[in-house]
């Protein structure tokens, strides 16, 4: 008698644990989103849906010039953003975490400092760095001039604009992965580290062979959040390069492109909820498939390592 009752209780317990989160998510993410995604299958007459058009909006975005070219260009930029952030932002975060792990004098204040920009908004960060990178008043070019380099107008040059925004993003967010890595490293325990040191392992060996495998769960979190963040990238490029991904679309990414199609740019564009929603559907499918696969691999790796 006791066992079935306990199993029944267990079911209720699990359901109770999940209910609040599921309820809020369904009401305020799933339902409105499904309603919005329905737009993807409609043509629009101004702001009002005009008729069901099946997959026509998808076909336009993927196969019709100039839209197809813009879609590909934006996707390419998202990929660059992802790779660059993994290397620059997260690589640096990993090093900083290791440096902080050593608990050298002043490590506490450094911990506070490295995380400080994370609390600022993208609006502030974007605005500040626009000024820092300004071709006439910017400190970056002023500093470069001191060592005889004639800095480009970073945000106005098609070759440097995306890189400059990626750098700004890394400046803004590096503290977050750094602390996730640090939390992971601190869980390893002093004994394990000491033991490895006694075995004659140097910092590099320690970093590669002891710490790296043991922070695998932290890596999974950082990788996944960076991946999804890179492909949903919106706020910072919006503040620094505007809705059109200036200059000449050199910083256009999928998030900007979808928003611009759905809501128009303030000064030049028209709104088309149909195409904007269609692009959002495609982005979601892409992200879901790729991160689903990546998570499987990363989880297996966590267990193997």
């Amino acid at each position: 008698m006791a066992r079935p009752k306990r199993r029944w209780q267990r079911g209720v317990w699990i359901a109770l644990l999940l209910a609040p989160a599921l309820l809020v998510m369904t009401a305020f993410v799933t339902l409105p989103l499904l309603a919005a995604l329905r737009y993807a299958f409609y043509s629009f007459n101004g702001l009002a849906p005009a008729g069901f058009v099946g997959f026509a909006n998808f076909a336009t975005i993927l196969f019709e010039a100039p839209y197809s070219g813009w879609t590909l260009r934006a996707l390419g930029h998202n990929m660059i953003v992802f790779v660059a952030l993994m290397l620059l932002q997260n690589g640096l975060a990993y090093l900083i975490a290791f440096a902080l792990l050593k608990t050298l004098p002043g490590h506490r204040i450094h911990q506070v400092i490295v995380f400080l920009p994370v609390v600022l908004s993208a609006v502030i960060v974007g605005f500040l760095w626009k000024l820092m990178l300004h071709p006439m008043f910017g400190v970056v070019n002023a500093a470069l001039a001191l060592i005889g380099i004639d800095g480009p107008p970073w945000l106005g040059n098609e070759d440097t604009a995306l890189g400059a925004i990626i750098f700004t993003n890394a400046w803004h967010w590096v503290g977050f992965p750094a602390l996730i890595f640090l939390a992971g490293m601190q869980r390893i325990g002093a004994e394990t580290m000491e033991a490895a040191r006694l075995d004659g392992a140097g910092d590099w060996v320690l970093l590669r062979q002891i710490i790296w495998p043991l922070v695998a769960p932290a890596t999974t979190i950082v990788f996944t959040l960076t991946f999804i963040g890179s492909f949903n990238w919106f706020e910072l490029p919006y503040v620094m390069a505007g809705a059109t991904g200036s200059p000449g679309g050199a910083t256009d990414v999928l998030g900007l492109y979808a928003y611009r199609m759905a809501f128009g740019s303030a000064t030049a564009g028209l709104q088309d909820f149909g195409r904007g929603s269609a692009l959002a559907v495609l982005m979601f499918l892409f992200l879901a498939v790729v991160s689903g696969l990546a998570l499987r691999i990363l989880r297996r790796r966590e267990i193997e390592l």
Binding site: N45, G46, L47, A48, E64, A65, P66, Y67, K130, L133, H134, P135, M136, N141, P152, P153, W154, L155, G156, N157, E158, G242, A243, T244, S246, P247, G248, G249, M261, F263, G264, S265, A266, T267, A268, G269, L270, Q271, D272, R275
Partner: protein
């Protein structure tokens, strides 16, 4: 019992959080705009309205320009939004009107429409049904603002044709004055820049040919006029590809650059930023003598079809079409009123109005902003690239033509 108690509890909870529905007071009309910087002027103007219409007050609500489309389209789609809306002209107006979000205006519900000239009415009409949906506020003129003091200091005469414009720019630069304040980092400014300098070379005949389907933007006239812009790169600020709109404004208003290529709508803000600025507004240089300025109507006032205060909202919109409002608004906002009967006492704006007598349309806004991809989107992208040296003028013409060909039939056969 329990149910009742729950309801009371829920009611109390919502009350504690503050519910706004139905909270709008009787006799209050809400007004939405993206013109945050005009708040003081509108507050003053709406006080006049309340004086003329006792019992009706206007609640002014401004939103950031970049988010205004999103906020308005969301609220209207949800059956809400302000009673009276500041709307854009041409394609921007059509997007709202087509969806039946706005009340059509006629001389029956707004007799004051007769105060407006036909082209102003046209800018706020839906082409499909020919009905007017908003009261046009102002006309804008694109040309060149100059700092007279800097010209005098450098001993340079105000240029008229292209050759003298280049000579003057060279002379200013030799005196270490940045001749042109504009950069190319803000895309919509590139479309303005193009219109100002290319239109005098294009001429009205080109516009007529495009509208008649006889010419595309691959036409030699368009390509040559567009390529003219490249000669100006030497006279723009260092690193101009990274200089945005706000910086350009600063450069001109603080007297660091001698010329600002832009619209008559800049006059007011420049005066506010620097009352001592000694400005003039001149026509752009043409091949021989002064060229034609570009002109358009820029915004209007519309009634939300779902407004619960139709009568009061109509009263407000009627008042917004009166010469009394238009004269004061034109003076305070530094605009040229859409009402032809209203003249601006400001000598500078008076001069702009005179230039308007022979003007060309701001082509992309007036004719190619009704469908996506808009002519403005395509042109500003192309000009930005051309000025940065990654696209040729011929390529700009080709991209613009191909993009517009998606919906403009005369471009499709080629």
């Amino acid at each position: 019992m329990v149910k009742q108690r729950m309801q009371r509890l829920a009611l109390m909870a919502t009350a504690a959080w503050g519910m706004a529905l139905g909270a709008a007071q009787a006799g209050e009309v809400t007004f939405w705009t993206w013109r945050q910087e005009d708040k003081a002027v509108y507050t003053d103007l709406f006080a006049d309205f309340t004086k003329a219409n006792p019992g009706i007050t206007v609640k002014f609500e401004a939103f950031p320009n970049e988010n205004y489309n999103t906020i308005v389209s969301t609220a209207l789609a949800g059956g809400k939004g302000a009673d009276v809306l500041h709307v854009r002209a041409y394609g921007g107006l059509e997007a709202l009107a087509k969806a039946n979000y706005l009340v059509p205006l006629s001389t029956t519900n707004v007799p004051e429409l007769k105060n407006l000239p036909a082209d102003a009415l046209g800018s706020e009409s839906l082409r499909a049904d020919g009905k007017v949906y908003a009261v046009s506020l102002a006309g804008q003129t694109l040309g060149i603002l100059i700092n007279k003091d800097l010209f005098a200091k450098a001993g340079v005469a105000v240029p008229t044709d292209w050759a003298s414009f280049i000579a003057a720019s060279k002379a200013l630069k030799a005196k270490n004055i940045t001749p042109i304040a504009n950069g190319t980092a803000t895309p919509w400014m590139d479309a303005v820049f193009h219109s100002v300098f290319a239109n005098p070379f294009l001429g009205p005949q080109f516009v007529a040919d495009v509208l008649a389907g006889k010419a595309t933007f691959e036409d030699k006239r368009f390509v040559d006029a567009t390529a003219k812009l490249l000669e100006l790169r030497d006279f723009m600020p260092a690193g101009f590809t990274g200089v945005d709109y706000a910086t350009s404004q600063q450069l001109f208003s603080t007297g660091r650059a001698a010329m600002f290529v832009g619209g008559s709508f800049e006059i007011g803000p420049f005066r506010r930023a620097n009352p001592k600025l000694n400005m003039d507004f001149i026509a752009p240089p043409g091949p021989k003598g002064a060229g034609l300025v570009s002109r358009f109507f820029d915004s209007g006032f519309a009634i939300n079809a779902k407004s619960e205060h139709q009568a009061d909202a109509t009263k407000l919109v009627r008042w917004l079409a009166t010469p009394a409002f238009a004269a004061k608004a034109a003076e305070k906002l530094g605009n040229i009123s859409s009402l032809s009967s209203v003249t601006n006492p400001d000598p500078l704006l008076g001069k702009v109005a005179k230039l308007n007598a022979t003007a060309m349309p701001y082509i992309m806004l007036v004719h190619f902003r009704y469908e996506a991809p808009t002519g403005s989107d395509l042109l500003q992208d192309g000009v930005q690239k051309m000025m940065a040296g990654t696209m040729t003028a011929a390529e700009v013409g080709a991209t613009v033509t191909q993009g517009i060909a998606k919906y403009y039939v005369p471009f499709q056969k080629k």
